[in-house]
């Protein structure tokens, strides 16, 4: 019967259309990270004040690791929020670390001065830290628990409330399977 034929056609075409529709809802640029709930890769970074800092130095503290660049508008948009979150959380066995990517020292320092950033910041000269953390958009933020495990990742601008919530969760070792997303732009 033709109805059966139509049903068969719909049965074949339906899933294809659904797949097509699903494809359109996806952000082709978005790369889901396989790093959540995995140990954070150790690194050593030279801070802008000349000190060297390793991930091991921060063991035992909840870490907020933020990749940024002075040329990135969403990074500018979140800068005040990050500093406000730092002012709220510092001293609670939590640490913030900013990692400037694809930037010049001068521009990065001007950025830090402009937004009165007081938490430690350094530059990823080789880009190895960025690759180790699978970064592709900017800004990108990682939350690391005191045992050195990544508990949450946020691609794009982030607000004070979310930083506070997720870092408090990281301090307790709570992992968020779902990544966060805000305004971002691909790194260069």
């Amino acid at each position: 019967m033709p109805w059966r034929r139509l049903a068969t056609i719909a049965f074949i075409i339906g899933p294809i259309l659904a797949l097509l529709a699903f494809g359109f809802t996806r952000d082709a640029r978005y790369i889901t990270s396989p790093l959540i709930a995995k140990p954070a890769t150790p690194f050593t970074i030279t801070l802008f004040d000349g000190r060297k800092l390793t991930l091991e130095d921060m063991r035992g503290k909840a870490v907020f690791l933020n990749f940024w660049a002075s040329w990135c508008p969403p990074c500018r948009a979140e800068a005040k929020d990050l500093e406000a979150a730092w002012q709220k959380l510092k001293g609670n066995n939590m640490i913030f670390l900013g990692v400037a990517l694809q930037d010049t020292d001068q521009n990065a320092l001007e950025f830090l001065k402009e937004f009165n950033v007081t938490y430690p910041n350094g530059k990823d000269e080789s880009g190895n830290i960025a690759v180790d953390y699978g970064t592709w958009g900017i800004p990108e933020s990682f939350f690391i628990d005191p045992q050195g495990r990544i508990t949450y990742k946020h691609v794009g601008g982030i607000r004070v409330a979310l930083v506070v919530t997720k870092l408090e969760e990281a301090a307790k070792g709570i992992v968020s399977a779902q990544e966060g997303k805000g305004d971002y732009q691909p790194i260069r």
Partner: protein, 549 residues
């Protein structure tokens, strides 16, 4: 080519070795080739479908450097690829793995191809066999038992429902067989019956039909012929196959048309050309992100061009068109705001900027416009400062940012505000008296009765000789009372930076709807009788003496 490259690399290496000391270890001669080979299998994370070997991006360079470092460290290509997979997932591999779920990506296309070929062959074979069997059935029908099939298919009157005679019984049997025959033929045509089954069933029905025929022939002739009774409305009729098939064809066609429309709409709505390197080709329909349609974009561009050429009525029309199609378009609202600023509608402009900011809270144009109104017109320095600081934090270094910083530096701080206003007042008074045109506006007695109490008065200054085009300066008075003293100066010019000097024509319009760009019946006009007037004139009195019909 490759030899040349290797030679160049060798020379470079020798130079590097000379300048960097004897401890430098010699790289394997094929390091670059191996790096490139692995890099060509890794996807650039900031490009679209380019390998890191082919991408010129900084990120791809850094990834290539990582590949080279790991090769130098003695890692195998598989280990290096695994490293990148551990950081970015299997997405980073341009060739998916041939194991696990990724195996499906390799197998499915071939599987689909095989299934497609089999299905096509099956359909073609069925078509051919159906055609053959239809021809065979047709010839069998004509050669084998023409009388039986033809007799069964004949339309004979149905017997009366209350008629229980042997003839009536046989006629009912015949009708049943006729129905069975047509059902069977339909099933055969739709492919549900094989040739063998069809022939067997047909023969069976025809045999039964022949028996009925013979029994009917054996009966004595019918004594009286009854007129066929009208069928009762609730009596079930055998379905009309032709009509059903036609209906099915129509519904199939409608389905296909709807399917095509849906696909067309989905594709056109959800795929669009990239407008910039940061843009994506998908997004506005299924992902919920807004993207103006081609028509709206064209209207927006038209409006912007008109605005740039100071053709404000044309710009307003274009932006209105945009806002009809996309009432939340922040760019159109912002431009409308700027036009309203220039027409002296500070409050209206503020509303337009607020509308834009309601949709996009950080829209730079709207922030700039609102900040300027708060600063220049409303003297809300704290509000303006807050907006400009926000704007400054969002705009990367460049000329625009310097401009914002300059305005921000100009805005008086809360403490300095009062003293500055006090000290600035005499200054501005001193400068204004020589660079202004002032006078008195009155209304002719005969028109007084027709004045709308809600009308707005526009004093319009145009350079002498320019009858059309944008005014040089405009001043607006809401609900004016006459006589009205006015002054027009540099602060009223529409385009910032344009000097308010020279010979100027002054006209006024009492506008009923308060919209400076539209004129309508009931609006009243007047002009300075000695036009053009020099800037600095103090008694440029104007009488409103015309009523527009």
């Amino acid at each position: 080519m490759r030899t040349m490259l290797l030679r160049t690399l060798f020379v470079l290496y020798v130079l590097l070795a000379l300048f960097s000391g004897p401890l430098h270890a010699a790289p394997a001669p094929d390091l670059e080739d191996r790096t490139r080979e692995i890099a060509s299998e890794l996807r650039c994370v900031v490009c679209q479908n380019l390998s890191i070997a082919d991408s010129p991006s900084e990120m791809a360079q850094q990834m290539r450097a990582v590949v080279r470092e790991q090769l130098e460290a003695g890692k195998s290509p598989q280990e290096i690829k695994d490293f990148f997979v551990s950081k970015y997932g299997e997405w980073v591999l341009l060739k998916p793995k041939t194991s696990g779920v990724s195996l499906l990506l390799w197998v499915l296309p071939y599987l689909a191809l095989v299934v497609g070929v089999i299905a096509a062959l099956w359909i073609i074979r069925r078509w051919v066999s159906k055609k053959k069997s239809a021809e065979a059935a047709a010839s069998a029908a004509t050669s084998h038992s023409p009388v039986d099939s033809a007799w069964l298919k004949q339309d004979l009157p149905d017997p009366d429902l209350e008629d229980n005679s042997a003839r009536a019984q046989l006629l009912r049997d015949r009708a049943r067989l006729k129905y069975e025959l047509s059902e069977m033929e339909f099933d055969f045509q739709s492919g549900k019956l094989s040739d063998a089954d069809y022939n067997a069933l047909k023969q069976e029905i025809e045999t039964k039909g022949m028996a009925v025929h013979q029994k009917l022939d054996a009966l004595p002739p019918e004594p009286t012929l009854k007129a066929p009774k009208r069928k009762s409305p609730d009596q079930k009729l055998p379905p009309d196959r032709t009509r059903i098939r036609r209906w099915q064809l129509v519904s199939g066609g409608v389905f296909l048309m709807l399917f095509g429309l849906a696909l067309g709409v989905m594709l056109t709505k959800s795929v669009r050309p990239r407008e910039s390197s940061n843009d994506t080709m998908t997004g506005d329909f299924l992902t919920g992100t807004n993207s103006p349609s081609g028509e709206t974009r064209a209207a927006l561009n038209e409006g912007k061009q008109a605005f740039a050429h100071q053709e404000f009525p044309k710009a307003i029309e274009a932006f209105k068109k945009v806002l009809v199609a996309d009432p939340n378009n922040p760019e159109a609202h912002s431009y409308m705001g700027f036009i309203l600023v220039q027409a002296g509608h500070g409050d209206g402009a503020l509303m337009a900027f607020d509308k834009a900011l309601a949709q996009a809270p950080n829209f730079p144009m709207a922030l700039w416009g609102k900040g300027m109104i708060l600063y220049r017109e409303k003297k809300d320095f704290a509000g303006a400062r807050e907006i400009f600081e926000n704007l400054l934090s969002r705009v990367p270094a460049g000329e625009e940012r310097n401009e914002i910083a300059k305005v921000l530096a100009e805005i008086p701080t809360a403490g300095a505000q009062k003293s500055q206003t006090a000290s600035a007042a005499p200054n501005s008074a001193a400068t204004s008296s020589s660079a202004q045109i002032s006078g008195k506006i009155t209304i002719e007695p005969k028109l007084k009765a027709g004045v709308d109490s809600n009308a707005s008065l526009f004093i319009i200054a145009r350079p002498a000789g320019a009858a059309a085009g944008p005014p040089l300066a405009v001043k607006k008075f809401d609900k004016p009372t006459f006589p009205l003293n006015y002054s027009l100066g540099q602060e009223n010019v529409m385009m910032q930076g344009t000097p308010f000097t020279g010979k100027i024509n002054i006209t006024v319009r009492l506008d009923k709807d308060g919209n400076p760009t539209t004129r309508g019946p009931g609006d009243m006009t007047g002009e300075y009788k000695m036009n053009p007037v020099n800037v600095g004139t103090k008694n440029a009195d104007i009488v409103i003496d015309q009523m527009m019909q």
